[in-house]
């Protein structure tokens, strides 16, 4: 359900405290509509054609990223976060394919581009930062080669100039003595350094949008904070839009302005990050919040959401979360919930109104 539905009609919750945000919501929604979005994903559906059956990995996924906006996508492993990111770049490998939906970027529908047109977008307009910097750099090529390659692929630029740009970009991601690093191989750098190099490769063509797929999962905690701070700083200084995929709600709350919660291939909740963190409506989002270690007293067992996410081949009828949901009612087992808007958030849950805490 698009966010443009007048808020008053949809506003069902009874909490007087929340009414304030509800009143301001229509204004915000209108503001979003007046700008042409950087990226707009509409009703995206991705399927995997397996031998026996077709699995649907993404169902009816719609979201937008504005210029310079930082959007977080959260969810368990297998919720479809990475598939969503890869499908934006049209990089889902066989047997997966985009079965329906549109992805608008720069006035073009990316799902309809030829391979050649698409490779002009990749790396040039949209870059990606991957999870494990140990794996994403080619071990046999120097840092410099791998950086300038992106430039040469998209711009008519001399070798000297490209080298200059690469060294500047290395300096921007705070790599000490960038000129020396330029000629080194990935194994000569530490994990955090490598992730900085990966970010530098993503930045070097000055793209308007970067997709970061769990960029800090493979790093240790202190380095994580540094990398996050770096990405934040780079986004703010250069106005780059960011899609941050993670399962770390702490990272989401620090880094992003808006957040999407995914479960079993669908968006279950979307809204301003602060509202999602403070007033989660979907029981799944709630479960994720409760599972944060800070929410448990020392010495107690951590809270967890009972059960596991269903396999793509056996997603239950109705709401996919119903077998694990503490608030489940009969309706949840039969009917798929539509989006309901509460202030800045939209949530797909029959019981969202019951969440008033």
């Amino acid at each position: 359900m698009p966010g443009g539905v007048p808020c008053e009609v949809r506003c069902r919750h009874r909490d007087p405290q929340r009414d304030r945000s509800c009143a301001t919501a229509p204004v915000r929604i209108q503001r979003r509509h007046s700008i042409v979005s950087l990226l707009e994903v509409k009703n995206l559906e991705v399927r995997f054609a397996m031998r026996r059956q077709e699995l649907i990995a993404l169902r009816d996924v719609s979201f937008k990223v504005e210029k310079g906006e930082r959007l977080g996508i959260v969810g368990e492993s297998g919720a479809g976060k990475s598939v969503a990111a890869f499908s934006i770049l049209n990089l889902i490998s066989k047997p997966g394919y985009i079965s329906s939906g549109e992805i608008f970027f720069g006035g073009k529908d990316l799902t309809k581009l030829t391979a050649r047109e698409m490779s002009q977008i990749r790396g040039n307009q949209i870059s990606m930062v991957f999870q494990d910097p140990m794996m994403t750099l080619n071990p046999v090529l120097t840092i410099g080669t791998q950086m300038t390659e992106a430039l040469h692929a998209h711009q008519d630029i001399s070798r000297e100039e490209a080298k200059q740009r690469a060294i500047e970009t290395l300096a921007r991601v705070h790599i000490p003595s960038p000129a020396t690093r330029f000629d080194q191989y990935p194994h000569e750098l530490s994990g955090g350094m490598r992730q900085r190099v990966v970010i530098a490769i993503a930045l070097i063509t000055k793209p308007p949008l970067i997709i970061a797929d769990e960029p800090t999962t493979a790093l240790d905690v202190t380095i994580q904070a540094e990398i996050m701070e770096l990405m934040m700083e780079l986004c703010e200084s250069s106005g780059v839009g960011l899609i941050l995929i993670t399962h770390d709600l702490g990272v989401i709350s620090q880094m992003t302005e808006r957040a999407i919660v995914m479960y079993a291939g669908r968006i279950v909740e979307e809204g301003d990050t602060r509202d999602i963190i403070n007033h989660a409506y979907h029981p799944y989002t709630h479960g994720l919040m409760d599972a944060l270690p800070q929410k448990t007293k020392p010495g107690r067992r951590l809270n967890q959401i009972k059960g596991v996410m269903p396999a793509l081949s056996s997603i239950p009828d109705g709401c996919a979360f119903n077998p694990r949901c503490p608030l489940v009612i009969d309706l949840c087992r039969t009917t798929l919930p539509q989006f309901t808007v509460f202030g800045s958030t939209r949530v797909a849950c029959h019981r969202a109104a019951a969440r008033t805490d």
């Binding site: 490779s119 990749r122 790396g123 046999v140």
Partner: protein, 307 residues
């Protein structure tokens, strides 16, 4: 720059392993000796075996110099036509090595490109190419080569064949053995393709051919290097076998194989050296190449490290 490279090489694990492996050092030394001596054959050899004016039929079948009836002019004796065996072996080894290396270059070119495409593109193209490779491997190399060379000789006559012999042998051995490379490369490409750095360069927007040959190929080089040494040795043996069967180099421009063959008729009349000497030269050449191949395989595959 060169000095820096040399220092880098001196410090590398490769050099370290090499300097500790006596077999590898000796093999490498012998191979270098072969290459230097044979490719400077016109300077080193006392006679030119291709020049009929210096050959005297009266000198035929003279045993090596240290034997009774030996002639100090002919260190390793002479063959049935009165050519100095030492000079002929030098020139012959040069031909054998040229054919071996060029045939392997051809194999590598065909095998690497087809194997790379099969592995990277996958799907029905992969199936198609690999089934062709399977079919070709099910015929023995020698059988294909014999049929092909015999048909060529029958069609175009021996005279044209003798002129084109080197090229023909390179083509036949090169084409017959490409599946070895294709399979090895394909297997490594399948493993490399799944690694994240390939996704990462696809995200950069590089074209497939650049991804294949600039990013994946250097990562598959170690198995390619290992089979290359073995394949050169194999190609030399194949060439020798074909020549021995009379389908290789003509007697006027003998390779090691045709020398062995030419002496074979005389082995029972006591002139054993015409066959045995080039035979020993061939065996040593192939042996050192295989030993170097073993060394490379051990060094380049850390999983095989003993202790």
């Amino acid at each position: 720059m060169v000095a820096a490279r040399w220092h880098q090489f001196r410090d590398s694990g490769f050099y370290h392993d090499f300097s500790r492996d006596k077999t590898a050092i000796i093999s490498f030394f012998i191979l270098c000796l072969y290459v230097v001596v044979c490719f400077s054959a016109p300077l080193v050899a006392p006679f030119d075996p291709y020049d009929p004016t210096v050959i005297d039929i009266m000198d035929s079948e003279i045993p090596p110099a240290w034997l009774e009836r030996g002639d100090p002019r002919f260190l390793l004796g002479t063959d049935a036509q009165g050519r100095d065996l030492f000079s002929t072996i030098l020139y012959g080894t040069r031909i054998s090595m040229t054919i071996g290396v060029c045939a392997v270059l051809l194999q590598a070119f065909l095998g690497i490109s087809l194997g790379m495409i099969a592995g990277y593109v996958g799907g029905s193209l992969d199936n198609f190419l690999m089934r062709i490779a399977d079919i070709q491997l099910s015929f023995s190399t020698l059988m294909v080569a014999i049929i092909f060379l015999a048909v060529f000789q029958a069609l175009f006559g021996t005279e044209l064949y003798e002129r084109l012999a080197i090229v023909m042998l390179i083509l036949v051995i090169g084409i017959a053995e490409w599946p070895q490379y294709a399979r090895t490369v394909r297997a490594s490409v399948l493993a490399e393709k799944k690694k994240e750095y390939v996704d990462a360069v696809r995200v950069i927007g590089l074209r497939p051919h650049r991804i294949m040959f600039r990013h994946i190929l250097p990562n598959t080089l170690s198995p390619i290097l290992v089979i290359s040494t073995v394949q050169v040795a194999n190609a030399i043996v194949s060439e020798a076998a074909l020549s021995f069967l009379g389908l290789g180099m003509p007697v006027t421009k003998p390779s090691l194989g045709s020398l062995i063959n030419s002496g074979f008729e005389f082995i029972f009349s006591g002139s054993w050296w015409i066959t045995i000497v080039p035979g020993v030269v061939l065996v040593i050449l192939v042996l050192v190449m295989n030993l170097l191949g073993d060394f490379l395989r051990d060094v380049l595959n850390p999983k095989l490290y003993k202790n």
